[in-house]
Symmetry: C2
Amino acid sequence: MATASRKQREIRQRELLILDTARRMLLEKGYIGLSMDRIAAEIEYSKGTIYQHFTCKEDLVAALAVQTMTVRRGMFEAAASISGRTRERMTAVGVADQLFAEIEPDHARVEQLLKEVSIWDKASAERRNAALSYETSCMSVVAGVVRDGVAAGDLAMSDGEIEQLVFGLWSLAWGARSIMAASLAIEKFGISEPEAALTANYQVLLDGYQWRPLSTEWDYVATAERIRDELIRQRST
Amino acid sequence: MATASRKQREIRQRELLILDTARRMLLEKGYIGLSMDRIAAEIEYSKGTIYQHFTCKEDLVAALAVQTMTVRRGMFEAAASISGRTRERMTAVGVADQLFAEIEPDHARVEQLLKEVSIWDKASAERRNAALSYETSCMSVVAGVVRDGVAAGDLAMSDGEIEQLVFGLWSLAWGARSIMAASLAIEKFGISEPEAALTANYQVLLDGYQWRPLSTEWDYVATAERIRDELIRQRST
DNA sequence: GTCAAATATTGACAACTCGTCAATTTCGGC
DNA sequence: GCCGAAATTGACGAGTTGTCAATATTTGAC
């Protein structure tokens, strides 16, 4: 009994070891360069043992994606529950997104790498459900802040538009990061600070939706800095 | 001489045959399911011959991406040169983007599939340069319309902001399509018409940038329809 | 029309990949 | 110390990409 749980602990530990090794390899060599044989060699277990944890290569990397999603969700929730006006809280989620990319670069890059390859078809249903749940809960956090904005009278919006706005912010963030990672032309084209451009566009979109106070009436750069410090402080405790 | 060019024509023809076959296979079976052996069998040439056209599998799919980019660029240019107010022309590019996804679904899907896998590292330098050039010229088309907007006094903007706006539109479009293709949660979350949401967000962003006439002062839905018809008409001639 | 040299084409091959499963080792309870 | 259950292994089958000696074709000179 005590031994059984010790064994289970060992297995959990090993699973983490596999994931860590896989993540490192994925970042170094890309999805195609990620080899089950090499992982096995590195962790000094046989390949068969790895396949006791994961049904296939896709399932393994899907597990990586799920790990990453939990980290992101945690940061989003912390950001959304910060104090201030509703648009400040929306800004906070943007800051969290940026912080996530900055503080957890491995996680952020894995997330991108994996959106690319179609993993979910072959991954186990269990894993897929986990991912689905984390993704929807990330979106719900954002949608919650938007609803608070409407409730507070800072934002006028029908129900369908709320999802539209969330989709817009999400597209903007995801697209920008995806372009930063993959595009050949971005530097040549003269976007030297894409991260700053992203946050600026973020605010422009919120202005377009007339989320009050508008950026002409409020210093959201200061807000972003305040929140950034606060989120970092929270993390370190 | 005449014979040399005949031979060259044959080679060109075969290259197109390889690309067509590869595209079909890529769409059917995904990047991993795309096999050089199977392509060779299907076109009834040996694998060695394929490797005379392309340095490696990545180079082949990079060539597919380049083909796709030329189609996209063509549509962008046609859209940008349409008549009307500057913001209408900007809207036209958005319509072209949508039309591209609609009329050339194979090209559009290939474009997405390939952003995912990191192809460019291994592709030949020649191919990479071609891609870079097409991508920058797509962006230049958009930037040109923005500059025209500034010149016409419809839009107030510093130089750096122009690139920022282009980056914003591009992020929005790219991110939305990427999410549509890959996301598990999108339907569950209640975004039933993502394409419509994208075009709406498009206009919201332009409103945020105060590109006149604002969407409150002008019917851009009508504009989009007019341009859509016109672009389709142009294509069919 | 003939023939040698240049060019194009081939497919067996080496070296790798994923996922399986019979055989082996390790472990837990008695 | 011993036995049955559970975990671990790595050789293996079937697949992949990319290479290259051997073969087939085309070319240009005579």
